[in-house]
């Protein structure tokens, strides 16, 4: 093992000398990609094996990642990378299949709903086809099934069902011996994602109680209420898992706190980033400099470079007029406005020029 490690290190060193990059194995990617996109080394490629239509605005991608992918636990997410009109876009989605499918058949699934105005989700629905290859990151997240078995309550809304599908599949496969209840809120009956799969799970996994609630089918919206919780046997002993729109998660948290639930018994995960408010030109916001462990607020049209300098940082920079790109820096989250063009950035991870970027709301930087 040690010998192999040393050998690997020596090869890495040699690769850096020969190819002038820290990931020398990716040097020939542009050629390999042409021959077989599954040979690409820079990221883990995953081929789209099948596209399944769940509802009118949701589809499931069945993916076959390259074997070097490290696998995942039920409830985790991955970043995927797709190229839309020449630009690489990264987005996070929950894995909706069970880890068993990966171990046995080398497949994973992502269940993706169209977001109104969403660049990537709409592109996936409109353009991504069977046979295409996308990039897949390693799985992450701690929205995990309790071990050893404890009673569980899932409160889920809309496409928040995706990580829970993976968890239920896993629980059923290992015959998880504790009561499991799913409260699944959907707009209308037509919006139920993975209906067949849920029915099948309910039929073969006796510990599971399934309750699908349509919120928008009657005159009055039918949201989560106290009675829903009253109806759950042994509620106090349950671990609660929340995944869905912010409104549902806030409401559920309130009701649970009132019943004396502690934070340690409530597990939640967000399933979509808040969209940038493009029409509203209010500038400024909290800027988080992650590597420097510093957070400062800004108002008005101060640029990220000015904000950083005012906070005592000295980021690398040059012309301060958007020419030289000395100050380009990785933005991990948040929206910025380009001072030169007035254009708003996307909310995700990308590079920005500090000297011409003005925050619009909270922004995090790798600086």
């Amino acid at each position: 093992m040690l010998a192999r490690n040393t050998q690997h290190k020596a090869l890495q060193w040699l690769g850096r000398q020969l190819f002038n990059r820290n990931d020398p194995e990716a040097f020939f990617d542009p050629l390999l990609e042409r021959i077989n996109p599954m040979w690409v080394q820079e990221y883990t490629p995953a081929r789209v094996e099948q596209v399944l239509f769940e509802t009118r605005d949701t589809q499931t991608l069945v993916l076959k990642p390259a074997r070097r992918w490290s696998g995942f636990s039920a409830g985790q997410h991955v970043n995927i990378c797709v190229e839309v009109d020449g630009v690489r876009r990264k987005r996070t989605f929950s894995l909706s299949s069970s880890p068993l499918l990966w171990r046995e058949q080398g497949l994973v699934t992502l269940t993706i709903k169209r977001l109104p105005g969403g660049l990537v989700t709409n592109w996936i629905h409109d353009h991504l086809q069977t046979g295409a290859v996308i990039g897949l990151g390693e799985a992450f997240g701690d929205f995990l099934i309790p071990e050893p078995a404890r009673p569980v309550l899932f409160i889920v809304g809309g496409s928040g069902i995706t990580p829970v599908l993976s968890q239920l599949e896993t629980m059923a496969a290992q015959d998880y011996r504790a009561p499991v209840t799913l409260l699944y809120f959907v707009r209308t009956r037509d919006d139920v994602i993975a209906r067949e799969k849920l029915r099948a799970l309910e039929a073969r996994y006796s510990a599971l109680t399934l309750n699908i609630i349509a919120t928008n089918e009657s005159e009055e919206p039918r949201y989560l209420r106290d009675q829903d919780l009253d109806a759950i046997p042994g509620l106090k002993a349950r671990q609660v898992y929340l995944c869905g729109p912010k409104g549902l998660m806030d409401l559920a948290q309130d009701l649970l706190y009132k019943r004396g639930f502690a934070d340690s018994d409530i597990h939640s995960t967000f399933f979509s980033a808040p969209a940038a408010n493009l029409g509203n030109e209010t500038l400024g916001g909290q800027v988080q400099f992650e590597s420097s462990r510093l957070e400062v607020g800004s108002e008005g049209d101060a640029t990220l470079l000015e904000i950083a300098e005012a906070a005592g940082l000295s980021p690398r920079h040059g012309c301060r007029m958007g020419i030289c790109h000395q100050c380009s820096c990785r933005k991990t989250t948040g929206t910025v406005i380009n001072r030169l063009t007035g254009q708003a950035s996307g909310p995700g991870e990308e590079n920005v020029q500090l000297c011409i970027s003005v925050p619009q709301g909270p922004v995090s930087l790798d600086l």
């Binding site: 000398q17 542009p30 050629l31 020449g86 790109h325 820096c329 990308e350």
Partner: protein, 357 residues
Amino acid sequence: MKKMTEAQLAELETDLNAIRDEVLADLGERDARYIRRMVRLHRSLEAGGRIMMPFGFLPPVFVAATVTLGVAKILENMEIGHNVMHGQYDWMNDPSLHSQTYEWDTVCTGDSWRRTHNYEHHTYTNIIGKDRDYGYAVLRLTDDEPWKPWHALQFINYILLSVFFQWGVGLHELETEKLRSREISWREKLPFLQEFARKGGRQAFKDYVFFPLLTFPVAPIVLAGNVGANLIRNLWSSTVIFCGHFTQDAETFTEEECEGESKGHWYLRQLTGSSNFTGGRWLHILSGHLSYQVEHHVFPDLPAHRYPEISGKVQAVCRKHGIHYNTGSFAKQYSTVLKRILRHSLPEKLAARAGTA
């Protein structure tokens, strides 16, 4: 320099920004496809050159291998490295084509290049005393710089600079002229020298040690071929770069002229301080589109393959504002560069007399 009022400069800025915005709005798959095609071509040429080289005991193969590797280095340095490091493809969000992390196949480190070229040269273009690329502190190319006796032999310096161009560029940030005048100390330059040694060592190891040893029985042939390939790249890149700012009509500026200048004035300086040369599609590609130096200096972070497309619009803006658009054939532009080097190796008065004689 042509005198323009602030109102005229503001109009010039608006006109040029409009060209820039139009390209920015149109960036997309076509540009990504173009640069990836260039990267694929580079990888193929580099692999091809290296594989052919050991068979260089056959003279035609030797020539083919050396030229192939030389062209690979030219393509990587000029059309890929230089342009990627300007941030022309940052919008693609591809870590392999990102300005802050790209490291190119030459002695100069990416970091040093980004400081001396992207920042100093592109911000202070042709300002004597601030743009250290103007003559590279080795050549006297304007009468604004006082003549010294050693300038008489500067044509030899020019030849040496061209032959060892990658080492000259690599050491540019050492600022030897400031070390000589004791403006800065060697101690301050220690971190730079360490970086220079690391990258220079890496380049020399690859071309002059590793690949020759890998093909031991024919090591001298591989070594000679690699030296040849580097020489081809050095001579070509030096020539292209000299044609960009040192032609007859390329203007220079003083620090006073440019103090607190507007963006419009910066644009004017880029337009009048740079020069193009004409040629076929592949001449432009192999020059990294620095044959469109004017367009490059006005819009350094637009993908370079767009320069030919916007050249007509830039010329129209120049005509509208009465600004000279400096272009000509490669031979014509280069001959004025050589004349400029020769002319300024003599003091102003002597050169004027020689000119009239």
